[in-house]
């Protein structure tokens, strides 16, 4: 069976005064109903991958490779065809739901919008459906909520509103872009729980973009760790995060509070001028000479792939 989403050697470059290679040669796939996580620090390119999949990159971005969704290459689609995929085929949930909602439109209107755009439903019909969707997410007074503006709702409410709006068309794939960023622990658990429930109930595949390893561990079947625009390690979530192979993954896991809060020395490299050889070598304690000159390839190590010469 072909996967629901198959990303093949995706590279994204932002043209500007200086070209920024944000994502390089990323390959990754997701089966129907599967939950996968892209993990990494801010600026590692994981959100760019998500945006590339959803076709949300700004006009200045040069994308190469292929993104096969349900067998179709999304990168080859015309803008109009892509519009049909967004929302109906792929739903996206952003971090900071209060900013993702238009402050000048009511909650109801924004939840109903996909119905009206994709199915051309009449206003009353769409609003009724939106109301049901909100109620299904546990809002007691869904009709009242419909009339509120995002500024009148709490962050948690907006989070669920966004979820409702993104899933109202039942897309087979949901991309959650840093859904837990900036939230306190309790809320993180809420959000994670909700996403998990949603995926479980509807059988939606979920591509989770996060820097939050516990969340990834809790939700994801499979995980890919990104560093400086590349995937450095990928495999079953429990294996990769429970017993990391790549020095970077190890560092990430070691920096978790429960593991002693040991930070990785140094800082992420500039995407304009990434280091030669292994991109992690300047921060790597296992670095040898070859690491500085030769770029390692992703190599299979059991059920996972690792981009490191030193560790299979």
């Amino acid at each position: 069976m072909s996967p629901l989403l198959d990303i093949r050697s995706l590279s994204v470059t932002f043209r500007g005064e200086q070209a920024v290679r944000a994502v390089e040669d990323v390959s990754f796939s997701l089966a129907e109903g599967e939950v996968a996580a892209l993990v990494g620090e801010s600026g590692c390119g994981k959100s760019v991958v998500a945006h590339a999949v959803a076709g949300l990159l700004p006009p200045g971005a040069a994308v190469s490779g292929a993104v096969l969704f349900q067998g179709r290459d999304l990168l080859a689609l015309a803008e109009r065809e892509m519009e049909a995929v967004r929302g109906a085929g792929i739903g996206v949930v952003f971090q900071n739901p209060s900013l993702a909602l238009n402050p000048l439109h009511t909650v109801g209107r924004q939840v109903a919008e996909p119905l009206r755009v994709h199915r051309g439903e009449k206003k009353e019909q769409a609003f009724a459906a939106a109301c049901r969707a909100l109620a299904a997410l546990g809002f007691a007074d869904a009709p009242g909520l419909m009339r509120l503006y995002p500024s009148q709702c709490s962050g948690g409410m907006n989070q669920r509103v966004v979820t409702a709006a993104s899933t109202i068309l039942d897309p087979p794939l949901l991309i959650a872009d840093e859904p837990t960023k900036g939230l306190d622990r309790d809320r993180v658990a809420d959000v994670a729980g909700e996403l998990g429930r949603l995926v479980a109930e509807r059988g939606t595949a979920l591509l989770l973009i996060t820097h939050d390893i516990p969340v990834a561990l809790a939700l994801a079947d499979r995980v890919a760790v990104m560093y400086a625009g590349e995937i450095v390690e990928t495999g079953p979530a429990r294996e990769v995060l429970g017993d990391p192979a790549h020095p970077y993954t190890r560092g990430l896991v070691a920096s978790l509070p429960e593991n002693g809060f040991v930070p990785i020395p140094g800082a992420s490299p500039s995407p304009v001028d990434p280091p030669a050889g292994c991109r992690f070598h300047p921060r790597c304690s296992f670095c040898v000479d070859r690491c500085r000159t030769e770029r390692p390839a992703l190599a299979a190590a059991g059920r996972r792939l690792v981009r490191c010469r030193r560790c299979p």
Partner: protein, 316 residues
């Protein structure tokens, strides 16, 4: 609530400052304050002069003078123009109608055009068309209003003979008024549009990068739908305040346009007052314009209150 209150206080203070300015100007400026109140280049009988001297009572304490000044303001008494032999308030009211008419049209049409052009220019700022629009708007807003008016007058009226040379009308008919006001309104509209275009462009550039716009796209909305359904409305909000602030500017532009097109509005009234040193009229005009600008700002705040739920929430 506190936000609104602070705004209210600011407007009240603005008004007060304007009133104090108009009160203080004739007293603080060089020359005889009585002559400053009457204006120069005008013949007044000694009896009138004495009457004015007694009325303003320069020997009385300033507070007392100010109180009586306020008192007369409250009765819409802005003084008397000895040049035009009429109360300043009456003169201004008589002239204001026309000026408000064509500035009003210019502001509304200019805002509409500006919002549209600015949206186009801001949505894809890197295209040739956007650059052209931006550059044109920049050029227009960098031209002194009177010069543009002169160019239009000399080209369309003088050279092509398409429009009349002076006046608001020949016969007081609708067609005649439209014919006479077309060019002045066009010039003012261009200015309003150019300024709004630049603002709107910046606003759109900012708003289209915001998360809600991206999220709207993520829900499958087309570019057009995102632009017109979401970004446009949000980006237009700052325009509301700017139109209010610009009201004063457009009004000043109207002054020059009236002079160039020989229109009998408030601008020519002020111009004549400048040439004839008709100080009471000048101060009255300044006061009235300032009050109108403050009112426009107040109105803008109210519009904001209606349009922007965030502020409404604050107000509750």
């Amino acid at each position: 609530m506190t936000g609104l209150l602070a705004k209210g206080i600011r407007y009240a203070v603005s008004l007060l400052v304007v009133v104090v300015l108009t009160f203080a100007l004739p007293r603080a400026m060089p020359g005889d304050p009585v002559m400053n109140i009457i204006g120069e280049d005008v013949s007044v009988s000694p009896a009138t002069l004495d009457a004015i001297r007694a009325e303003i009572g320069l020997d009385r304490p300033v507070t007392e003078q100010f109180a009586s000044y306020l008192w007369s303001l409250l009765h819409l008494d802005l003084g008397y123009s000895y040049h035009l032999s009429a109360p300043v308030f009456d003169l201004l009211v008589a002239r204001m109608g026309w000026t408000l008419l064509f500035t009003g049209i210019a502001i509304v049409v200019g805002a509409a055009i500006g919002i549209l052009a600015g949206t186009v220019a801001g949505w894809r700022p890197e295209t040739k068309r956007s650059r052209a629009v931006t550059l044109a708007a920049l050029a227009v807003s960098c031209t002194p209003p009177y010069f543009l008016a002169l160019l239009f007058l000399s080209f369309f009226s003088f050279r092509l003979g398409l429009f009349p040379f002076k006046g608001l009308y020949d016969e007081a008919t609708f067609g005649s008024v439209v014919h006479h006001l077309f060019l002045p309104v066009l010039v003012l509209t261009l200015f309003a549009a150019a300024r709004n275009t630049l603002i709107m462009r910046g606003s759109v550039v900012q708003e289209k990068g915001s998360l809600y716009a991206l999220y709207a796209r993520a829900r499958g909305l087309s570019d057009r739908a995102v632009l017109f359904g979401h970004v446009l409305k949000n980006a237009s909000l700052p325009i509301v305040t700017l139109i209010a602030l610009d009201f004063g500017f457009i009004f000043s532009g109207a002054l020059f346009v009236e002079i160039v097109f020989s229109l009998n509005g408030m601008g020519t009234l002020i111009y004549d007052a400048v040439l004839g040193r008709d100080y009471p009229l000048l101060q009255g005009a300044f006061l009235v314009i300032a009050v109108m600008v403050v009112c426009a700002n107040l109105a803008a705040d109210l519009v904001y209150l209606l349009v922007d739920p965030r502020i409404r929430r604050q107000g509750q």
